[in-house]
Assembly symmetry: C2
Homo-oligomer: 189 residues x 2
């Protein structure tokens, strides 16, 4: 499947489960999926119906799938990001782990291993593609670019230690340190 | 897209990126995607080529997409799990955050909120479906079941604090506490 970033998706309801499994299930109370968990939001959420924004960055669609502010996450946060052809993240680093899972499209990762200083350092270039995964070591400068002219690049992004604090490089120097009080990545540059 | 859990997937190579972006890119060194990162593994990995196992549990396919033992993750771990129709996790709990993203299929989640004791407590039942997401609060007893007779249930699973330590309920009681020294979920019961 491809995740839809629009609200046009029809929610597919699961078939009723009529099978029961010893004591645990015997105690079960059937509730609607709209049952609230945190801050009035349903526990099970349709990703196609979640808010999306580009935060002023052309070509980006960002959806917070599970976040610290909206959903009370304390240790991990999950985003769905879609980059139109030619669009990209800024060169940046952050003091958390980050895992990418490419759902659709292809592109290029620039990664400057061991670059925890004022300058981003010399990056290596990696091809990324549908059904691939990669992770960014803590504080390594990096940039993800949709270098495929024909297709969106869609990825699930997982970070630790939310909300993320991002340092962005502009013209080769660390330009800004920004702590995202809201649960979106800082996409300056 | 659907993630393939077999090794039959053809790796899609991205088109070469010929665009450059000021200082960062001017310094870039083009390397192969097979460049090693940790323990001889490539940084960018084809999920369709990663090892899969069922750990003795019928109907399960488990792939560690990014893990503590294999890939050096310290704060988050990502799995791709596929459950054949009728198969399920045991009733269990763990002291970490867990986020699910349903890529394919549908099923049922049983969740006993606030159940951190000897007994799993009274669960609620939620329908889960393709393109949905949900998370399990720390230490809440839960079970995920592929209750759709016609289709596999495939999910990306994200946990914090790897490797996971799982407590499994058998016949309504906590039966075993098992610390997974290897980076796979304990799927007893």
């Amino acid at each position: 499947m491809q995740f839809a970033s629009s609200r046009t998706i029809t929610r597919k309801m699961a078939k009723p489960c009529l099978t029961f499994f010893f004591g645990f299930i015997a105690l079960s109370a059937i509730v609607e999926a709209s049952q609230c968990s945190i801050k009035g939001l349903p526990l099970v959420r349709n990703i196609g119906e979640l808010p999306q924004d580009n935060y002023g960055r052309g070509g980006l669609s960002h959806i917070t799938v599970a976040g610290s502010v909206l959903h009370g996450m304390k240790e991990v946060e999950v985003w769905l990001q879609t980059f139109a052809p030619g669009s990209r993240t800024p060169i940046h680093r952050h003091s958390c782990e980050e895992v990418f899972v490419v759902l659709k499209g292809s592109g290029t990762l620039y990664l400057a291993s061991g670059s925890h200083e004022k300058y981003p350092g010399k990056p290596q270039e990696f091809k990324i593609y549908s059904n691939s995964t990669f992770h960014i070591p803590v504080n390594d400068a990096h940039q993800v670019w949709n270098s495929n002219e024909d297709e969106d690049l869609q990825m699930l992004v997982i970070i630790s230690r939310p909300p993320v604090k991002v340092y962005v490089y502009i013209r080769g120097l660390v330009h800004a340190a920004h702590c995202s009080k809201i649960e979106v990545p800082v996409l300056l540059g």
